[in-house]
Amino acid sequence: MITLSNPGGSKKDCVKRSMLQRALLIVFSLVSQAFAEPMTFASPTNIFAPASTPAHSIYGLSLLVLGITACIFTIVVGLMTYIVVKFRRRPEDDDREPAQVYGSIQVEVAWTVIPILIVVVLFMATARVIASVQSPTLDNAVKVTAVGHQFWWEYRYPGLNIVTANELHIPVSDPVHPTPTLITLLSADTDHSFWVPRLAGKTDLIPNRTNSMWIDPQQTGLFLGQCAQYCGTQHAKMLLRVYVQSREEFDRWVREQSQSAHLSDTVSEGRRIFENTACTKCHVVTGTPATGQFGPDLSHLMSRETIGAGVAANTHENLRQWIKNPGAIKPGALMPAMGLNEHELDAVTAYLETLR
């Protein structure tokens, strides 16, 4: 039998090991310095910072699961470590084989029954949460239809006469008078998935299928997320923005959005170019000949903070750049560059900037 220790080389091994340790130490200190500042669990999309009932239910369940798995981990790794240390071959061991043990029905039963009990507990807890999240009682819910497109989100508010894109506005839900939001999920092309981690788990948008989910955020603010099902080239830049507003702010937003586009005569040239180019084949501007359905509704474009499904702030420069060549900001976006000259670009941008 070959033994692990090598009397002649042990000292050299020692030196080598300490050098290795030193090298590791240097690497670790460099890494930890480099990351000391940004290495953080703070994130606007942290699933452990729930702000809505479905996300809260999941969070509570996840704590139970994490607790149980942490216990299992500690016990089994403890056992493993003990075995590896206690029963390792030592240099002074003789060549005799250890006692040959073939098995034991008692211990097999024990480590079958205990896991079964753990599974039962976890299953019961899970079934409860599934039922509570999937069969909610939603009185006076705000109803929104979200339609996934390559690579942006369309939001329709049936009954409120609102169609908008990429920025979802919903009212905050007061625990005393809850106003949850029921979102119907549809897809215009490929699979997508609606995931705003702080509000709820994800639900897919699948063509030829109607899905739904609900949220009832209890605090106002902007909640971020993004498409979570691969949907094509620009899957990465199909960002979600949910604006949770106080009831008054939300009602004001509804009033503004349900009106037709404000059309101003000062930008008639830009409007003429817009309506004589293919723009109208894909975009809607209410009260004008622009009635296309493939792209986002532009009637209230300037009420939105971002363009291109959240990829850029809605500034003059970005908007102009987007109209000039969307692929420069979002390669793979389905909107083509229209080949407008500089003057036309200025005019169209000016026109769009009046659509508040």
Binding site: M1, F35, M39, F41, S43, P44, T45, N46, I47, F48, I58, S62, V65, T69, I72, M80, V84, F87, R89, D93, P98, A99, Q100, V101, Y102, V107, W111, T112, P115, V119, T126, A127, I130, A131, Q134, L185, T190, S193, W195, P197, A200, G201, K202, T203, D204, I206, P207, N208, R209, S212, Q226, C227, A228, Q229, Y230, G232, T233, A236, L239, P331
Partner: protein
Amino acid sequence: MSTNPITWPEAEVVSRPFVDRLHEWVTTVDHKRLGLMYIFYALIFLVIGGIEAAIMRVQLSAAHNNFVSPQVFNQMFTMHGTTMIFFVAMPLVFGFANYLLPLMLGARDMAFPRLNAFSFWLTAFGGILLYFSFLGGNGLYGAGGAPDVGWFAYAPLTAPTFSPGHSTDFWTLSLLVSGFGSIGTAINIIATILCMRCPGMELRKMPLFAWLNLVMAGMVILAVSPLSAAQIMLLIDRYLGGHFFDTQAGGSAVIWMHFFWIFGHPEVYVLVIPAFAMASEIVPVFSRKPIFGYPVMVAATVCIGFIGMSVWAHHMFTIGMSSNANTFFVLSTMAISVPTGIKIFNWLATMWGGKIEFKAPMLFIVGFLFQFLIAGLTGIMLSIAPFDWQLGNSYFVVAHFHYVIVGGILFAVFGGFYYWFPKMSGKMYDEKLAKIHFCLFFVGFHLTFDFMHIPGLLGMPRRIYTYEPGRGWDAWNLLVTIGVFVQALSVLVFAVNLLWSYLKGNLAGNDPWDAWTLEWSANSPPPAYNFASVPTVKSRRPLWDLKHPEDPDWKYE
């Protein structure tokens, strides 16, 4: 065991022209040569798939990075996933099964040697076809080249509307071709195990390796068949006007998901059960004890096989299934943790009271046990449907299944490599290099895949070619990327070790580990006929009986 220089009969070894030797390898029906070809083929694709992974990781090392375009990135993750599953993991599993099963069962070859060769070449051509797409494909939006629909290729992204050109056809056809190869090999493995065992080797006296591969082969037939059917349907959709998955003509995207995952989940067990098989051989030999609870291990494996066929829709918790369906798949998925746990406990019980020798094979198996435990625990988290609504399709899932496939399967396979390398090559590997390989791979693996869980918890979905700054994902992603290069370095050490040991290593002898199964009674490397005379066995450890005539196993079994 001493490795005294042994003189081998050199008379037969005449150096023949290269073309002759090549011709011998190409036309061979010998299970050992086919096994080695499977393994060699898998190692080449492991490097290719690894390079694709490294390209993705460089791109993701910082927010808004511009190392590759979104089109290239999407091709990379599609090719990486497809390559690693179908052209690395499967051939590795089949390679070891092919090489070892006849030797362990005391047979001279597989049941159907020519089917064996045919299956290998189908698999091989499948991989070549997939990679030909870089030259001959034409991807989304003129992106050119390789398929970019993801390795599970959800409909309707594969429909001609969204996937013009031929990239998706290359993906479909290569999986169809290699799928038939897999089914052929699975049939061969089942027939070999059921019909080719040597005298005395009843089913309950087979090595666990054979039992586990029997279950694996059964699952391959059940799982790969629906995948092949789905590929044919997809081809009908794309070229013959079918509408199975064409949602624009009323087809169903969800049906594809069912077809894919009724393959996809059992596939995980197809890959991990052979890893269990290696652990079940290596743990006893290096602990110097018989496997603890052999019948329970067999029962647990068969149990995993059956339950494993009924859990597929846990990949679909987010598609809006009814609460009843979700609840069922939660239960079936959790249930599989029970037999899996039994196996882990049995390995630990085998080590208990032993004299564990930490040579490279055992080091890798201990790594496997540790990481597979963690993979199982994150698996329990993902089996909780509501938790999955958050974690599904996030980087947490990516970290979880890499823990299974790299931390579990690849660690066990590396253990298997070192364990059987002396048998396959006749030479002993270099123990020091192997330990360096283990240390580097262990550190690289944990750097990469431990930290990969965190961006998932912080809301980072998978398959995005870039991400927004300010989400708290940047630092974690950079660490993950660094880990990949440590892993790459360790694989280089592994390759150097294999190559150097093959050329310059010490002769290993027939039985370097003082082991107990039949393959160690054959020469190293075994001759074409394996055994000069067909062995007869009386117990699960025939060589133990031989070495300890005073205390044979068959008295107790």
